[in-house]
Amino acid sequence: MFDVRCPMLDTSLRDHRARGVDTEPFEYRTSNIEYRISNIGHRATIMNTHTAPYDPVFTGETRQRLDRVLERYPTKRAALLPALWMVQETRGWISDAAMTEVAEVLELTPAYVKGVVTFYTMYHQHPVGKHFIQVCTTTPCNLCGAEEVVRALLKHTGCRELGATSPDGKYTVTEVECLGACGFATPIMVGEDFLEGVTAEKVPEVLKRYQ
């Protein structure tokens, strides 16, 4: 937000990523270019949860994965962050119904889970574009032209504003606070991929890989 008002601090929006919520089912797939995390990458479909009955996440293989995670901790609660990651990997975002499922599985309450989900900015509380793009614009990257990168991304993805999903449902672009790669300005994340040294000029080329 380069005009000096910043939507992030505009508290009338509980989540600046919320806008442009897509109600049509769409494909969510993480890319396997660059750095792919081994346990991410299987396909999932985001359903419009307002009409479809809730389909549990923790069944079969995912349930077994969670059971293995539970062995690492002395409490069930401790598996909450990993469990929420599993939900997001499977569904692309974490719905209220999914929070209830996680609460049941870990013997917590839905409200407790929601309190945790809303604390951590990487958990999506709403469906996002097929490619969720986060650009670091904190001071070190800002000095090196990160805001140019944001502008280029908005232009080339067709996203009207930060946090909004592009009309074709492909992209959501947001700013993010420090990605921890300040010496490789500007780092951006596309889904789970971490790209370094992105410049405004490289944006079209980057987007070609995320169609």
């Binding site: 989540d15 917590l108 309450t109 809303t118």
Partner: protein, 528 residues
């Protein structure tokens, strides 16, 4: 024993000695100083987040929060020193920048800790300027609770109560930074049977009661110590009255009974106390039915009936009657052939407040069943009703006839009825004597743990109604068996002299917190 070890320190120039481990904020109370605070509450785990209770501790470089700092020997604490005042003024300014200052329409105004402390030590003018304040819409949390997020100061008392005391995390802190607010999940309303406590715990007008919404301003209310009538737990409560109507019941702290809490069922009890269907004058049975009269005539007729009664006397009482009235009614019925019975409603299952030992909404839904038992009443109410037809005299106390069939006492002997309302079954009475309800008299209840607790008169009696202890005292005096009593205390004194279960107790010893009856004894055997 380390817990009895005392630590001496100086707070605001006052020397105090407190048990080791005491927190500064509690020790300060002993020095006569209330350290301003929001998130701290003695009934909740310490959070230390509002940072309001910052005080200066000598030889400590930074200001310390009094709510999380334990006392240490020789500590010198300054609550009102310039750095401490400056820091708290800063906190108050931060709390106010997003606060709507809608006190004129806020239920909390007048009993709001934000108002109080800002008035006491806040900054006269804000420096926030023209920035927009945070806005979020009012949310209905369910149960009796509304959430007004704009007024919220994020002290998290409500969340900690639900997490650690109710052990049912229905509330959360959502989001973070200045976007944070108290949240709930759509799948679960704030429906816990003890959830109403979050309204009392909220130091500002953020969590408010729908039941009390816009009913009264805090400064119009009179507050009276009382005991909840909802069940046999005997939670200590404060009745708030406005123009002779009870408008709200709130918990009154008692570490041995209910700590700082009461259940939502108990909160709703105040409503029946305002009932408009009251008997407002003594009634005598004449040819035309029950006819209003004055107390002199009514008492004289009742005394005459009692003197002339032969054979068995049956006392049918409610477990909501005061201990004094229950005692005096038995005494009035005479020593020999008396059957005393009481009726009490049972609702299966208890609703415990898990964070407080021995605190629950009990299935025995009356405040004085234990008192009745101690005084020799039995629960064989139906059997007592059956014997009523052979009895010479039936004395009905309070409302045991509520909801019984209209012809229950049809074949009974002479019925003298002391009550607040007149159910159909009581219309057979020869004398009807109007009495005060719990909000209108002084008296005591004995809770399930045999703790005798006083309640105080909170509002005026309607019409000519009088406390049952007064009515029974007058009748006893007519019969020359004690009384009359000018106060409930005198009636209780007679009880403590006559009944060993209450030996040595008086209103002075009971105070406002109550005292356990002397050790449990075998039930009183009523001579046949």
């Amino acid at each position: 024993m380390s817990e009895h070890e005392l630590v001496s320190l100086t707070i605001e120039g006052v020397d105090v000695s407190v048990p080791k481990g005491t927190l500064l904020i509690e020790a300060a109370k002993q020095a006569g100083v209330v350290v301003p605070h929001y998130c701290y509450h003695p009934g909740l785990p310490v959070a230390g987040v509002c940072r309001m209770c910052l005080v200066e501790v000598e030889k400590t470089p930074k200001l310390q929060i009094a709510c999380a700092t334990p006392v240490a020997p020789g500590m010198v604490v300054r609550v009102m020193s310039p750095p401490a005042l400056e820091a708290r003024k800063g906190v108050l300014e931060f709390l106010l920048i997003n606060h709507p200052l809608d006190c004129p329409i806020c239920d909390q105004a007048g009993e709001c800790e934000l108002q109080d402390y800002v008035f006491q030590e806040g900054r006269a003018r804000t420096r926030y300027g023209s920035f927009a304040k945070r806005f979020n819409p009012v949310e209905d949390f369910g149960g009796d609770v509304l959430y007004v997020p704009n007024r919220c100061i994020l002290c998290t008392r409500c969340v900690r109560f639900m997490d650690h005391v109710a052990d049912d995390s229905i509330l959360n802190v959502s989001e973070r930074g200045d976007r944070a607010l108290i949240g709930i999940h759509g799948d679960r309303a704030l429906d816990h049977p003890w959830a109403g406590n979050v309204v009392d715990l909220c130091p500002v007008g953020s969590l408010i009661s729908k039941d009390f919404l816009h009913k009264a301003r805090a400064w119009e209310l009179d507050r009276t110590a009382s005991v909840c009538t909802g069940c046999s737990q005997g939670c200590n409560v404060t009745l708030d009255t406005r123009q002779s109507a009870v408008v709200r019941a709130r918990p009154r702290p008692n570490p041995d009974v209910n700590r700082y809490f009461m259940c939502d069922y108990g909160r709703g009890q105040y409503r029946w106390m305002n009932g408009g269907d009251r008997i407002e004058a003594p009634l005598l049975a004449e040819r035309d039915g029950l006819v209003a009269t004055d107390w002199d005539h009514a008492l004289a007729r009742a005394a005459q009936l009692i003197k002339g009664a032969a054979g068995r006397t049956v006392v049918l009482a409610s477990a909501r009657a005061s201990t004094e009235a229950l005692f005096l009614a038995r005494r009035l019925a005479g020593g020999s052939s008396v059957t005393g019975a009481f009726r009490v409603e049972y609702v299966p299952g208890e609703a415990p407040l898990s964070g407080v030992p021995n605190l629950a909404l009990r299935s025995e839904r009356a405040p004085n069943a234990t008192g009745a038992r101690v005084l020799g009443y039995t629960e064989a109410f139906d059997a007592a009703v059956r014997t009523a037809s052979e009895a010479g005299l039936v004395l009905v106390l309070d409302e045991p006839l509520h909801g019984v069939p209209a012809n229950t006492l049809a074949g009974a002997g002479m019925v003298i009825y002391l009550g607040t309302v007149l159910p159909e079954a009581a219309r057979v009475a020869r004398v009807v004597l109007p009495i005060a309800n719990v909000a209108e008299e002084d008296g005591t209840f004995v809770n399930r743990d045999r703790r005798a607790q006083r309640y105080f008169q909170a509002k005026a009696t309607p019409g000519m109604a009088r406390p049952a202890w007064w009515v029974l005292g007058e009748l006893l005096a007519e019969l020359g068996r004690g009384g009359p009593f000018a106060t409930a205390a005198e009636a209780f004194d007679l009880l403590s002299r006559e009944d060993p279960s209450f030996a040595g107790l008086s209103y002075a010893t009971l105070g406002t917190q109550g005292v356990g009856l002397p050790a449990a004894r075998p039930p009183v055997v009523v001579p046949a």
